[in-house]
Symmetry: C2
Subunit: 339 residues, 2 copies
DNA sequence: TTGTAGGCGTTATCAT
DNA sequence: ATGATAACGCCTACAA
């Protein structure tokens, strides 16, 4: 009894001997439908293998039941893990997630926003890496796409925003190294430090932690990765090993970089933690299994994912509510790399 | 001049002083439109911030321009990397990718298929981990959803299929260890070995490589991970270290497992490669940066992604063509873990 | 080259 | 409780 091609609600209605609206009412259990009618409809659905047409529903209702999640790359361990959590959390609320990739560039972030509108997504959780995408964001919210921003904050503070504990986390990481007796603590950060970015905030955390303990941050101990990749981090590890600056501790801006740096140090025969201690940021799944296992700042990822979903849903409910700002709680996880 | 709410093609037409169809024709550059009209339309689009409504287009045309990609989890390094490549390749062909997660269970795989139909996806690239989802697949293709299968092959061979070089790759990995002088080579695999799965095929590769060299595979050297996670692999590493079997080489079914095993060995003071050599499978991005860097079977991931996209596009073109079968080329990458 | 009519599958509204 | 009707925004077919 399986019909080839498209089976519509109408087909189901005929099969069940009811009207299209009754089928629709059963599916969405909107109004009271008599038990017999409901039963016949459900049987007809099973028999025909009917699947609702999301395009038609979305066109008619204006809602797609899909929320976008735009991240730089899903292949990145951090964003891959985060996407998984968001997908699970959204499903709990009856929503589906569509993953977009921005490549961490403004063009990609703008494109993700445009794409979300085209696809009639009900909202967008956007992990921002640039500030340049802001103007397109503003235009978009004016046109009614609810947005929650992660990572970089828009300067005007007009969006719901969930951030990592950048300053406090980096400060705690730095303090951890100081407490262990490290005297020459380097920091590995990225990009330029003019604007207030994730890099800047983590760097600031490092600096204030040192200053709080009466240590003058040495500009020579600030290493900039030339690219935010494992390879970029590895060569930064080489530079640190070759620097002759007597570095005995490293605060890395994230775990990928930390592991790349450790790998680079190892290339030069520098052992972690024996010769130098290293701490990361993010607590990606691989961190606990790296050799040496990686000490790191561990933000509550589940909390972050749940908060992002909660915010986007309430923003969809009430587009005009004032924007809200949250920072994830964190803990320092001590592992072998700072033993 | 930015209008709030939904801007339709009609609004653009009015703004430009033309008919809706002219706007549609400009957007899809279908027929010849006079330069002046086209210019006015483009200006109106820019001015209004118009975005085409994908739901309406999809409803009308029956095509969404979106291809589904169903993988177990995007947080997994292998699938995250693979998703990235597929997304990039699809974009090159003007298609968008929607990522689904199956959790590597039959229920999830079936659900992904149903979801793809609901969402009017033009096709589905499905990374299969189970055989149970097969019946639902068959029903689906009958209803016109083009499918390309990765990973597990459906027993009936009714789908386009791209596989990893499981047997040949595992055999080459094993041969590599033999050539290095390993005498007691263990294999770490998963699940039961009754059906022909990825596990079975890689295990078979290991076995035939040994037999080809006149070595009798010792059943005691076959270790089964109780869960396909880093933690499961780590505890397998413990078991290998504690086994007292004199293992001097390990063929792991994939890189995640290989790294987990190395971590577990390290927990027991077994050094890789000094005390024991380990080789993985997949060449995930992290493999080259692990300590020790991981020797592994490196399938051509880009080839695989490109082939999957190529197959799904041609399947969309011609739903009735006979199914095709491809296996990715590979190379053995020698790194520190087998030095 | 441009415009008009109709329908894709669903649901809101109103009527029975 | 159930059904008829119209409309969501776009595109195919045809007409001008």
């Amino acid at each position: 009894m399986v019909k080839r091609g498209k089976i519509t609600m109408n087909d189901v209605a005929q099969l069940a001997g009811v009207s299209t609206m009754t089928v629709s009412n059963v599916i969405n259990d909107r109004v009271r439908v008599s038990p017999e009618a409901r039963e016949r409809v459900l049987a007809a659905i099973r028999e025909s293998g009917y699947q609702i047409n999301a395009a038609a529903r979305s066109l008619r209702s204006g809602r797609s039941g899909v929320i976008g999640l735009a991240v730089p790359q899903v292949g990145n361990p951090y964003f891959g893990m985060f996407a998984e959590l968001v997908i699970a959390e959204a499903r709990r609320h009856g929503y589906h997630i569509a993953v977009e990739q921005t490549g961490a560039v403004a063009l990609g972030e703008t494109a993700a926003v445009a794409q979300s509108r085209r696809l009639q997504l009900d909202g967008l959780i956007l992990s921002l890496s640039t500030a340049e995408a802001e103007s397109s964001l503003l235009q978009t919210t004016e046109q009614g796409l609810p947005i929650v921003v992660l990572g970089e904050q828009d300067p005007a503070g007009r969006f719901d925003h969930v951030s990592a504990p950048d300053e406090a986390g980096a400060a705690a990481a730095t303090a951890h190294l100081v407490d262990l007796g490290c005297k020459r603590i380097a920091v590995v950060t990225g990009g330029n430090l003019d604007r207030l970015t994730m890099f800047t905030r983590r760097y600031n955390g490092y600096r204030t932690a040192l200053e709080d303990r009466g240590i003058r941050p040495d500009p020579k101990l600030r290493f900039i990765v030339d690219s935010l990749t494992r390879e970029g981090a590895r060569s930064t590890g080489h530079r640190i090993a070759d620097s002759g600056l007597g570095v005995d501790g490293v605060v890395a801006l994230n775990d990928i970089v930390a592991m790349g740096v450790i790998r680079g140090l190892r290339d030069r025969g520098v052992a972690v933690p024996d010769d130098m201690r290293v701490i990361g940021f993010d607590d990606v799944p691989a961190a606990a299994y790296f050799i040496p296992s990686l000490s790191t700042v561990s933000p509550d990822h589940e909390w972050k994912a749940a908060k992002a979903v909660e915010l986007i849903l309430s923003r969809i409910e009430d587009p005009l509510a004032p924007p809200r700002e949250y920072t994830a709680p964190f803990a320092i996880v001590r592992r072998e790399s700072t033993a």
